[in-house]
């Protein structure tokens, strides 16, 4: 017999009321504004935009406030909102070669044209807590120097001249979109890159780290890491031409990987690629490493059986909203399921006891 149970409306309502109060916290402390979160929690906002897969700093800041700083919950809110938006179209591919860089470094070429530009980085800080920040937020203006006017060239171009690095063949093929069609495996590199750029930072980082520790080792150099703004162009049907519909900040990482050649490819450097919304360099570097590991098949490398080479494993577990949805559903009422399990265990125990007595007799 199945007995449906209802109830809990009042408890749920009161729980949500308390949630709102807890979100606000101690009222003697000034309330956080969405503008403050957008301006001062910028890297959290960037992560929510990247994994929420929607570039809109105001919305991401609002989501962070609503989620009480739980970034996965905030990403969930953004993903849910995203599905309500009509899609006006797809943009032209952004031109990262024309990026207005605020940071651009290379671990492979010291004297690359455009130079090593550190930007607003945590690198080289001592990672000591700065108690001055607890006291006041006054900072002197950042120093300035003569700005570079011309675009900063991509570093891999230099290796390309010598034919020492695998080339990326341009095309205008329409890429698959995992938000519109169910993911089919084996997937294309375009599908993998889409999954990785919106994938959970922690998961992608862990996968990338595993390749560095020897699981599908593909020794990577950061050929180039750049952060900056790019214009986004889209065709406007009613105009009959393309215009820039906005400007976004992105982080791009190109890795250069040792490659001794395979059955199909000559010895040359190969590439991993990371491109992520916002200032998100840990994620972009991780993405590039995992992208490279997943390319074993097309480069004719051996399957080492490493997790980072397993497309199905990586792509089906990188999405933190899918993961959290499935994981957290087990805390919801499973009274009936569990009741049947309980019955089963009781019966098995009775049978086992009965068998034991028979054997003793």
């Amino acid at each position: 017999m199945y007995v449906a149970v209802k109830g809990g409306e009042r408890a749920i309502e009161n729980a949500h009321g308390w949630l709102a109060e807890e979100r606000r916290g101690e009222t003697a402390v000034a309330e956080l504004s969405v503008d403050q979160i957008r301006e001062q929690m910028k890297l959290a906002v960037n992560r929510v935009m990247a994994e929420g897969s929607l570039y809109d700093p105001d919305l991401a800041a609002l989501a962070i406030k609503q989620a009480r700083g739980d970034l996965i919950e905030a990403i969930f809110l953004i993903r849910a909102y995203r599905t309500t938006l009509p899609r006006f179209g797809s943009t032209h591919a952004i031109d990262t070669g024309n990026m207005a860089c605020i940071r651009r470094i290379s671990a492979t070429f010291k004297d690359a044209p455009g130079g090593q530009v550190l930007g607003p980085t945590f690198d080289y800080t001592h990672r000591l807590l700065d108690f001055k920040l607890a006291a006041d937020g006054e900072v002197p203006p950042a120093p300035q120097a003569a700005p570079r006017k011309e675009p900063t060239p991509h570093i891999t171009e230099f290796l390309n001249h010598e034919g020492l690095i695998q080339t990326e063949d341009a095309s205008d093929e329409t890429p698959p979109d995992l938000t519109r069609e169910p993911m089919e495996l084996p997937g294309s590199r375009a599908l993998r890159l889409q999954a990785l750029t919106r994938g959970d930072e922690g998961f992608v980082l862990g996968m990338a780290y595993s390749t560095q520790r020897g699981y599908a080792r593909n020794h990577a150099f950061v050929g180039e890491l750049r952060i900056g703004t790019v214009a986004v162009e889209m065709d406007i049907p009613e105009l009959g031409f393309a215009i820039e519909i906005g400007e976004i900040e992105v982080t791009e990482c190109e890795t250069v990987n040792q490659f001794t050649g395979s059955k199909t490819e000559p010895p040359q450097f190969t590439r991993g690629y990371g491109l992520v919304f916002g200032q998100t360099e840990r994620k972009a570097i991780s993405m590039a490493l995992v992208d490279r590991a997943l390319r074993w098949r097309e480069l004719g490398e051996d399957d080492m059986g490493a997790p980072a080479q397993d497309e199905e494993f990586v792509l089906y577990h990188s999405d933190n909203i899918q993961a959290t949805g499935f994981l957290e559903h087990i805390k919801l009422p499973h009274y009936v399921d569990f009741q049947s399990e309980l019955e089963l265990v009781r019966r098995l125990r009775r049978e086992a006891e009965g068998a034991g007595q028979e054997a003793a007799e």
Partner: protein, 146 residues
């Protein structure tokens, strides 16, 4: 500059403009009479990137965009396509686009577009200047006897 590239240029500028900056420049200007061809609508555009920066395209994620279309009394049609979710901003962008096709063009250019461009260029240059100040100047330490 051809008519098309000129229009592309100002529409791109308006799309990227901070809403507050355009609103400030627009303020005090009586809105001309117009009819909506398409009321402001919030949506998204799927942003693409290229593998390795130059290769085949892939989908990165979406960005919010607001669009609208309107027609002035005189017949000029203006389109607004702006980043974000600010409907009033899209309306101002469409009005500027429409007015740029009328006799008011020169005035709008001088009073709205040029100051807007100057402000945005100034902001971008300030960031580029701060980046330039963080450029590493390497120097070599001579070691050994020879």
């Amino acid at each position: 500059m051809t008519k098309m590239t000129a229009r592309k240029d100002w529409m791109s500028l308006l799309a990227k403009a901070p809403p507050r900056a355009l609103a400030a420049l627009w303020e005090g200007r009586g809105a001309p009479d117009f009819t909506w061809l398409r009321a402001p609508e919030i949506g998204a555009a799927m942003v693409r990137g290229r593998m390795g920066g130059t290769g085949a395209p892939f989908n990165m994620g979406e960005m919010t965009v607001t669009r609208c279309s309107l027609q002035l009394e005189g017949g000029a049609v203006g389109h607004g396509y702006v980043q974000g979710r600010d409907k009033a901003h899209a309306e101002r962008a469409a009005l500027v686009d429409a007015l740029m096709q009328t006799e008011a063009a020169e005035r709008i250019r001088a009073e709205v577009l040029e100051p807007l461009r100057a402000e945005m260029t100034g902001r971008a240059e300030a960031r580029a200047a701060k980046a330039a100040a963080t450029k590493v100047e390497f120097f070599t330490l001579v070691r050994g006897d020879d």
